[in-house]
Each structure stands twice: as structure tokens, then as C-alpha cells.
Amino acid sequence: MNAIFCLAGIVIKELYRRKDFYVLFVITAVITLMMSTVSFFHQAGIVRYLKDICLLLIWISSLVIAIVTTARQIPAECESRTILPLLAKPVSRWQVVAGKFTGCWLACGLALAVFYLFFGAVCAAKEGHLALPQYFQAFWLQWAMLAVVISMALLGSVVFSAPSANATICFTVVAAILIVGAYLQKLAALQPPLAAWLLTLLYFTIPHLEWFYAVRERLIFDQDLIGWGDCALATAYAAAYVALILCAAWLVFRRKPLTA
């Protein structure tokens, strides 16, 4: 565990010494602040649209941070050969995979917490109240979903040597799951048997990130909390996918040549 947390610490330090997070935070903050100061047609319910756009920006920014940060981790270590002195220490390759995952997940969690604090402060100022449990649930479930995305990007980073190719594929896969993931079964019903079988298999294989995305609407429309039991189930669902994908990443990485 010691090596895993040492590696995680390095990933967090790297993220906060680079400019990516700050740029995304400033962009999100500026857009949100500008929108919150403008009165659209003197409508009282306009705050709902503000929350919608602000949460969308938070989702996009957190996905960008998660995928871009994770995609470069192992390829950058191999390219700069920092992996050599690291693996010459008593560190196994599964510890490298677990450490990189932990670091990226914690770093994204910190970034996400900053985004949510800012979002909560703006919304509280506009609405006059703050539904803290709803915000915590939304934050937690989004963080759980990011764990799945980070593990996917980590698997991609040991399969594809170019971080840009990995990031592009990850964004495409995540976007596809978010957009069409829920409709795969409906689509399968309209297909010939073989295609229907394949689509059904795909439906039951992919991690359904869109289930986590739905929690966003509860914040926008001030709906009730999701049951904490359901929240725990969703967390367990994400954890199961993370474990499976990280195992696959380790299986690929354990035999991978370290240098070109």
C-alpha cells in the first residue's frame, strides 16, 4: 500500500503543478459568473438553466481532467524512461497501475470538489438556500463514475502508446455510452437476431455511465435525494467495473516492454 500511495502522491503533485486544472476551472468559473450576473428576460426560474449549463461544464471539465491526466501517465513514464528507476525499486507493476489509478482518482476528486464548492456557492447566492445532501450525492456519484472513466483511460494508456490516441478513443467511448448506452436494448429489439444479440451483449457488458449522469437532473430540478442504499449500489457497480478494468490493465502492462 505504501508504494501505491507514494505513486498517487506524485500524480496529485503533477496535476497541481501543471496548468490544465487551473485553465479549466477559470473557464468554468468565468462562464458561470457571467451567466449568473445576467438577468434573462427577468424570469425567476432562469436559475434552473444556469444550473444546467454550469453542471454540464463541470461534467465536461472533470471528464477532460480525468481522461487527459490519466492517458499520459504510463506512456509519459515510458517515454521519458522515469519508469526504469521506478521499477528498479521494490515496486511491482500492479502497484504502478494501482498507484496511478489512485492518484488520478484522488486528483480528480479534489478538482471536482473545487468545482462543486464554486457551483454550490453560486447557486446558494441565486436561490437563497443550499441542498447540501443533494450536492454531496451528486458529487459522490460523479466521482464514482470518474473512477470508471479513469480506469478505462488507464487501460487505454497501456494498450495505445500515444496519449492523444488513447484520449480521443476514451472521449468517444464515454460520449457514446452517455448518449446511446440507455437505448441499446431498444435498438436491439429492432434488429435481426444476430445484431440484436450483439447489441444486447454490448448493453450488458458496458459500464452504464449514463445512470450516473441522471443524478445531475435531480440537482437541476431540486428533486428528492436518491436512496442511500441505491447510492451504495451504484458505488459498488462502479467499483466492480474499476476492479475488472484495472485487472485487464495490469494483465497488459505486466508483459509490456518498458522502452521502445
Binding site: 506524485i10 503533485k13 503543478r17 526504469l84 521494490p90 515496486v91 502497484q95
Partner: protein
């Protein structure tokens, strides 16, 4: 987990005191790489290497480019699994990460995390070795003074010159106070004072009783520093013995011995 140590025997080499413990034991090592292209035959980098390196000696591992030195070192460091055969460090199979607990390694060309300062980098590596915090801080002070980087300890590594980067590499290799140092071309790309400094550090480690395995193309340096050498060519061990013994046996200096063994210059075509 208990790992059975291989039986230790000594080589009949006058440079090796009787009863010495083999720090590194390589037995029938074969390293084979798959062909990259379709239908391309595999490349055998190391062909059945047997080698023992003993405690307290400075051992030079020599060979022309592509001889199999790096492949052997990669197996010793656990970067590459052996295709056949085995290697042990202090009796522990090199495939176990714990085999690297007493090793310091300096790669030939590498860069370190550029967003860290020298002391942050050393703290990171020290924590991986689970060195206690108070002891770690004193180790960091000691190794930074040893490699003359004490004044630059709070500077980001990205601002370091090549020589300074090589010295921080040496510092990270020494952070765990290793009993065995594996140095791959430690003076490569260094200016003469930098080379001298590295050579002094190796000599000092040798006098402290540490085992040093290093590969180098600088044969003069090898002759000065090493007790024994091995020359490997096309994956096969050609010669192993003490520097003085080989010079006496061949009646020529180490550079000529090396060239003779690797067959340079090649015989003229009729």
C-alpha cells in the same frame, strides 16, 4: 513468503577470495525477443549466460552494442522476464520485487520527474523503500552532499543541466544505502570533472564494501575501477576474470583484449 536461495559456490578465480558470497547469480539465462514483423524470426539477445558476481567486488560488464548487456541488466532489474534460465540477487529470484530492496540502479539515459525538486524526488524514492522519515531526511542530506547537489536541492529538476541530472540519478541510486549498485554507462555524456566525480564515488563505494556492477564502453575507466570483468559478445559470455589476470594472460591492455575477443578488425576477405 520464503524463497529458497540457490546453492552458493565460488568460482576458481584468484580475484575472488575463497568462500565469498555470490551477490548476483545468473544460471543458463536466455533472453529472446519476438520478431516485430509478420513472419520475422525471434531475436536471441542472451544465449545461456552463467555468471556469478561476488560481494564487495566492482564488476565490469563489457561488450559491443547489441551484445546482450542491457538485456541481462533488464532481467536482473525485473524489467524483462527471462525466456529460460534464472537470475538471483542475494538468493532471491529477480522476478520478485523484494529482490530489488538492496539495489541501487542508475540507468544510462533517463530523466526524472521534472516537476519535482531534488529533495522531493529523493523523498519519493526513499518512501518507496519505506525508510523511516527521520532517517530519510538524513540520507537525503548525505547523498545530496555526496553528489554536490546540496545547493540545488530546492530547484526543480527541469532546470538542471545534463551533468546535474546524471548526479541526481546517482543520488537516487544511493538513497536506500544499497549493498549492490547497478550502473549502466554511469559516465556517459559527462564532462571530465563529472566523470572524475562519478569515478571517485564508485571507488568510495567499493572501499565501503559494496558490490558494484557496471557496464561501460570506457575501457580505461573499467581498468581503473574494476576488480573483475566479463566480456559478452552476440549474447555469449566470451571471457570472465580479473583485470590483472587477463592482462597478464593476453599480454596486452584491456582495450586490445576486448577488440581481440569481439573479433575486431574482422579478417580481410581474400
Amino acid at each position: 513468503m520464503s524463497i529458497e536461495a540457490p546453492t552458493i559456490t565460488t568460482q576458481p578465480d584468484p580475484a575472488v577470495p575463497a568462500g565469498q558470497e555470490a551477490v548476483i547469480r545468473i544460471q543458463g539465462l536466455v533472453v529472446q525477443y519476438r520478431g516485430r514483423g509478420l513472419g520475422q524470426s525471434p531475436t536471441v539477445a542472451v544465449k545461456g549466460l552463467d555468471l556469478d558476481i561476488f560481494a564487495g567486488e566492482a564488476f565490469g560488464f563489457l561488450g559491443p552494442n547489441g551484445a546482450g548487456k542491457t538485456s541481462t541488466m533488464q532481467v536482473l532489474l525485473g524489467f524483462q522476464p527471462p525466456t529460460r534460465g534464472a537470475a538471483y540477487i542475494y538468493g532471491v529470484d529477480v522476478r520478485q520485487p523484494i529482490a530489488r530492496q538492496r539495489i541501487g540502479y542508475l540507468p544510462e539515459t533517463t530523466s526524472y520527474y521534472k516537476f519535482l525538486t531534488a529533495e522531493e524526488l529523493l523523498r519519493f524514492y526513499g518512501r518507496i523503500f519505506q525508510i523511516r522519515p527521520a532517517e530519510l531526511e538524513s540520507r537525503i542530506d548525505a547523498v545530496l552532499k555526496l553528489v554536490d547537489l546540496d545547493a540545488a536541492r530546492k530547484r526543480l529538476i527541469k532546470t538542471y543541466s545534463k551533468g546535474m541530472q546524471q548526479r541526481i540519478g546517482l543520488a537516487q541510486a544511493l538513497i536506500n544505502n544499497p549493498d549492490l549498485l547497478i550502473l549502466d554507462e554511469p559516465t556517459s555524456g559527462l564532462d571530465p570533472p563529472g566523470r572524475m566525480k562519478v569515478r571517485e564515488i564508485i571507488q568510495r563505494l567499493k572501499t565501503e564494501g559494496r558490490t558494484v556492477l557496471f557496464s561501460s564502453h570506457e575501457l580505461g575507466e573499467v581498468e581503473t575501477v574494476c576488480d573483475r570483468i566479463a566480456i559478452i559478445h552476440r549474447g555469449e559470455l566470451k571471457v570472465v576474470g580479473s583485470v590483472a589476470g587477463l592482462v597478464k594472460e593476453y599480454q596486452m591492455d584491456l582495450e586490445r583484449i576486448f577488440l581481440k575477443i569481439i573479433g575486431y578488425p574482422p579478417p580481410a576477405q581474400p
